[in-house]
């Protein structure tokens, strides 16, 4: 098979094809945070989190208009409000999609959470319109990378609002929390989101030298490995292929179960006390990603 995007993306795509089945059928037996109620119909009405406010800010740049239109039509932020419903937040949190003048607008204490049109635009530009044979479908790239961005920025807000003690670089901690969340919705969601995330970090990778390393954000390659490590550590059976194909070097892979458990423990200790268990089961049973998302 000819792999256009990269060897890594190719391997991820092949495996995605092997595993992909309708989302609802994929709720596996192993579920670190308790089993979802499988009796619940996938389209159950869960009320949105009333502490989360959302806004689609109209972009000044006409080029971003199609993104604005699409996200609004897809009710992406409304879905996020539902997704966050189990989280008991002591104060309001604004999540907005806005034009930032930069690719990211990192979260500052007090908020808001900002997802930049520029970032989504970068995802859309990097993802080929027609997925070449061997690369993940465009839909997986776009949705996975977008979900990662939203979860990453939201994770930082959760640390702030819940006053979670954060050891390690905060943006890496946000990546780990995002990755942990991506693992809680069954194999299909995990595969799609991790494949899209890994694809994006590889596709957007740049060369880091000298003062580049002073950046608060971590190199794309580091984030690529951090995400794959969380995936493999959390579900070695599903993600064995990333080790078998050397996308994740064996030396790092052997530590990943420990890394995943460390994040799981931190989650249980610091965030879980603020999570409504029943609502969480309902959200876990929802179809959080639809197969036509991203179109």
């Amino acid at each position: 098979m000819k792999c256009i995007v990269s060897a890594a993306a190719c391997m991820l795509a092949v495996t995605l094809g092997m595993h992909a089945t309708p989302a609802a059928a994929q709720l596996g037996p192993e579920r670190p945070l308790g089993s979802p109620n499988t009796q619940t119909p996938p389209n159950i009405q869960v009320l949105p989190n009333s502490q989360v406010e959302v806004a689609y800010v109209e972009p000044g740049n006409a080029g971003f208009r199609p993104i604005y239109d699409k996200l609004k039509r897809r009710q992406v932020l409304e879905q996020l409000r539902v997704f966050l419903s189990p989280l008991r937040l002591p104060r309001k949190l604004l999540v907005k999609i806005d034009q930032c003048g930069a690719v990211t607008s990192p979260y500052k204490p007090g908020g808001p959470v900002t997802i930049c049109y520029e970032y989504i635009d970068q995802i859309e530009r990097l993802a080929p319109a027609e997925a070449p044979p061997g690369s993940p479908p465009r839909e997986v790239m776009v949705v996975g990378a977008f979900v990662q961005a939203v979860l990453h920025e939201t994770a930082r807000a959760v640390f702030d609002v819940l006053e979670v003690p954060v050891w390690g670089r905060e943006s890496d901690a946000a990546d780990k929390l995002a990755a942990f969340i991506m693992m809680q919705f069954g194999k299909d969601v995990a595969l799609r989101t991790f494949v899209g995330t890994a694809w994006f970090f590889e596709a957007s990778e740049r060369t880091w030298t000298g003062n580049d390393f002073s950046d608060v954000a971590s190199p794309e390659a580091q984030r690529f490995y951090n995400y794959l490590c969380m995936a493999y550590g959390g579900d070695p059976a599903t993600f064995k292929f990333v080790v078998d194909n050397n996308l994740l070097p064996a030396r790092r892979a052997q530590r990943c179960a420990g890394e995943y458990q460390e994040v799981r423990y931190a989650f249980l200790k610091t965030i879980m006390p603020n999570v409504d268990q029943n609502l969480m089961k309902q959200v876990q049973a929802m179809e959080v990603l639809k197969s036509d998302d991203g179109r």
Binding site: P109, P165, W167, G168, E170, D172, V216, P249, R252, E259
Partner: protein, 281 residues
């Protein structure tokens, strides 16, 4: 683990202070005792490390380290030992609750330390003492995370660096300067990844670690470390974020470690002079 690219508390004025007698106790050392900390100088397996051992013992590095750490209320016995490892490293071994400090790491620092003070102001003493203290404190970080069941969300290697850097800043300006500079220099002398695969290491790159230490220091003590920003060693865009980064670490420390610290003993430890001026030259 402290790789050579990355490095481990304490006390240590070893090389520069060679020949120096142990610091006279300003407080009665009896008050700084902790039965949960057990130290051991293990005989080296390599002849040339005999000298390293002798220097460490003469300076009573582990004895002072044990006093320095005495305010910690530990639920387990923590063993801290110096030994031969056949690599320049230091590591925490969870199955033994032990911190292992390799003679080779100190010898490596001795090797990379400048013979003369550099243009940027790094002294030989900074690098040997600060670098060694960093190695010890970094491993102490891993030990504390494990023994005290501390929740760690980020990369644990960076978290251990944060513990090390944060503690360095709690003992006055002189200790802070020597130790932060020593740690930073040891990373400046190590390589960044040369292949993509090397980014898979669970440690940050040497460059990231260098800037992380300077950032924590500048965030905690803007006046004391402003010179690093002025001369561009810590780039402005990162420097602007450093107060937030320091506060993040301070809060994490207050919430997860401080409950296990005896406050009265801590005050005594902080009041004591750990490094003598002639050791940092």
């Amino acid at each position: 683990m402290k790789t050579i690219t990355g490095a481990a508390l304490a006390v240590a004025a070893i090389w520069a202070g060679m020949g120096a007698t142990p610091a006279p106790a300003q407080q009665s050392p009896d008050l700084l005792r902790n039965s949960k900390i057990v130290i051991d100088y293990i005989d080296p397996r390599i002849a040339k490390s005999e000298q390293t051992l002798a220097r460490l013992q003469k300076r009573q590095v582990l004895e002072e380290l044990a006093q320095f750490l005495s305010p910690l209320r530990l639920p387990r016995v923590l063993r801290i030992r110096t030994k031969s490892c056949f690599q320049a490293n230091a590591f925490y071994v969870p199955s033994e609750w032990s911190i292992n400090l390799c003679y080779e790491y100190l010898e490596w620092l001795d090797n990379i330390a400048p013979k003369q003070t550099t243009r940027e102001g790094y002294t030989r003493g900074d690098v040997i003492i600060g670098g060694y203290i960093d190695a010890v404190l970094h491993e102490m970080g891993h030990a504390l995370f494990d023994i005290l069941s501390v929740p760690v969300f980020g990369r644990e290697e960076d978290a251990a660096d944060q513990i090390s850097g944060f503690i360095m800043l709690q003992f006055g300006k002189d200790v802070a300067r020597t130790t932060i500079k020593g740690a930073a220099y040891s990373y400046a002398m190590s390589n960044n990844p040369r292949t993509r695969t090397e980014f898979s290491d669970e440690h940050g790159t040497s460059g990231q670690r260098f800037f992380n230490y300077l950032c924590l220091a500048y965030g905690g003590e803007p006046a004391g470390f402003k010179d690093f920003v002025d001369r561009g060693a810590l780039p402005k865009p990162r420097a602007d974020n450093c107060p937030i980064e320091y506060q993040q670490v301070r809060r994490a420390f207050a919430k997860t470690i401080l409950p296990f610290v005896d406050q009265d003993m801590m005050k005594q430890v902080q009041a004591r002079q750990w490094l003598k001026p002639d050791e940092t030259k």
